[in-house]
């Protein structure tokens, strides 16, 4: 693998900066308010959105609540066993959550019913059904696609009770965050690593951009290091590649 990468090629024939094929299917779970099945090469994630009402978060009384979680199912790889989430899964869920939250993708100010008491609570739960590397990006695309296609039930307050009117409305989306993950293997930087490539990477970095091409979240991972130049060079890559993925998500969700 080192030989191939130092010659600018990868074991699956991709160029160093080439992403795997991205497939997005929407509305696959009828019982969810929004859902998506996203595959990036062999990695596959199902994301479902459930909308309920509940108490707001402390300190954010006038905003709706958004909760993103992720679980790597035991189906996903022979190395995963059922049980409480390990560090990697917790990091995955938190990084994906941060990408959506910090970009302010959803206008949560519009989702308070009685400010300070009852607000919309949006749960986005992700099940990783097959794990073949770069779960960060695959999961984050699934969350974004599911939210883009999500229809909110219209709740009303009558006599201090929440009534589901049965009507639906679209989710207030302000921007589309897209993450791009790069791995450093020796002196080469590759995008969208497979599980095989992740097994021999030195360091990983995930950079999230929003529709205005600003940066909204970053997470470095694995035990290797980057230089400040490597990171600065990756910023432009994350924008260009992020824009490609963003147009694909936009195109798919418009039809769906």
């Amino acid at each position: 693998m080192w030989d191939a990468i130092s010659n600018g090629k990868r074991l699956d024939g991709r160029n160093l900066d080439e992403l795997r094929t991205l497939n997005i299917e929407l509305g696959i779970i009828k019982k969810a308010n929004g859902s998506a099945r996203v595959s990036l090469g062999n990695s596959e994630v199902v994301a479902g959105v459930k909308v309920e009402t509940g108490e707001p978060f402390e300190g954010l009384e006038n905003k709706g609540a958004l909760i993103v979680s992720a679980e790597v199912l035991p189906t996903a790889s022979p190395f995963i066993e059922p049980g409480p989430p390990d560090e990697e899964t917790v990091e995955l869920a938190r990084v994906v959550d941060r990408g959506v939250r910090e970009s302010e993708m959803i206008d949560l100010d519009k989702l308070a019913l009685i400010p300070g008491e009852i607000v919309y609570t949006i749960f986005v739960d992700c099940s990783i059904t097959n794990a073949d590397g770069n779960l960060f990006d695959c999961t984050s695309y699934a969350v974004v696609s599911a939210l883009m296609s999500c229809k909110l039930p219209v709740f009303e307050i009558q006599d201090n009770k929440v009534i589901d009117t049965g009507a639906i409305k679209s989710t207030p989306i302000t921007t589309i965050p897209v993450s791009i993950t790069a791995a450093r293997i020796r002196d080469s930087i590759i995008l969208d690593p497979t599980a095989e490539e992740e097994a021999c990477m030195d360091a990983r970095i995930t950079i999230t951009t929003n529709s205005d091409n600003n940066f909204t979240a970053v997470q470095k991972g694995a035990t290797g290091t980057f230089t400040s130049e490597q990171i600065k060079n990756l910023l432009d890559t994350a924008r260009v590649k992020g824009e490609e993925v963003r147009s694909k998500i936009k195109e798919t969700t418009r039809i769906g």
């Binding site: 402390e58 560090e87 990091e91 470095k220 991972g221 694995a222 290091t225 432009d236």
Partner: protein, 247 residues
């Protein structure tokens, strides 16, 4: 996060009276936990964090041991009384994530291959939390690892920079973290010139990103001097090499 009030006043000073390029007051004490192989106590603004290092020692459970190198384990934990409202003592998802990124930010500096089949445990306990506790924790942990006599390639030093009122400022505090625009914690090995941790919450343009990263790295270099003088004081009785040479 939407901002509701100005965090930088007309004179260009921040909520705690600092200039945009000023660090909070930092004090590091070494050898504060007697039972530990290495330890450090750091006061970083209002953060009070104690770090104890145990090891290299035998690995339990034994199947975790690696034949060619040492296992590094890291636990970041906040005391229930460390925050404004009581924190549930059970480890939260945030703490699990911070433990992981902390381990990954320290590991590149350690010569783990020198201690095969052993484990090094780093316990980071936040007694009082202010903004930037992960950076303060990493800074103290690498001093504690040096105090434990672990072979190291470099010291890891950590500092955050962020965006407040559309300006890039060094070392953001609790208020600025909660009300400000962006927070970027960075850990760095000053001699090897390598970044070992980089995270970002909040929105930055490309130029702001670069400015923020450079500012955080400068902060790291300042903090490195404090780590160094703390170690010099403990092991050579004086804070600089020059005085030691004269003696």
């Amino acid at each position: 996060m939407t901002q509701t009030r100005n965090l930088i006043d007309a004179r260009g000073l921040r909520t705690d009276g600092r200039t945009p390029d000023e660090l909070r007051e930092i004090k590091i004490q070494i050898g504060v936990v007697k039972n530990a192989d290495g330890s450090a106590f750091i006061e970083f603004g209002n953060n009070k964090i104690i770090v104890a290092v145990y090891g290299p020692r035998e690995v339990h459970p034994k199947h975790m041991a690696l034949p060619d190198r040492c296992v590094l384990r890291c636990r970041y934990h906040m005391s229930p009384f460390s925050t404004d409202t009581r924190k549930n003592p059970a480890p939260s998802r945030r703490e699990v994530e911070i433990s992981k990124v902390m381990r990954e930010s320290l590991e590149p500096a350690l010569m783990l291959e020198d201690y095969p089949r052993a484990a090094i445990d780093v316990f980071v306990e936040v007694l009082q939390a202010d903004g930037g506790s992960r950076c303060a924790g990493i800074t103290a942990a690498s001093v504690a690892l040096a105090d434990a006599g672990i072979n190291m390639r470099d010291i890891v030093t950590a500092c955050a920079a962020g965006k407040v009122d559309e300006r890039i400022v060094l070392d953001i505090n609790d208020t600025e973290d909660k009300e400000g625009g962006a927070d970027m914690p960075v850990a760095y090995m000053p001699h090897l010139n390598q970044i070992t941790l980089l995270q970002l919450d909040g929105i930055l343009s490309s130029d702001q990103f670069k400015e923020c990263l450079d500012k955080a790295l400068n902060g790291c270099k300042l903090i490195y001097e404090i780590q160094r003088s703390a170690l010099m004081k403990k092991y050579f009785g004086s804070e600089s090499e020059e005085i030691r040479d004269e003696q």
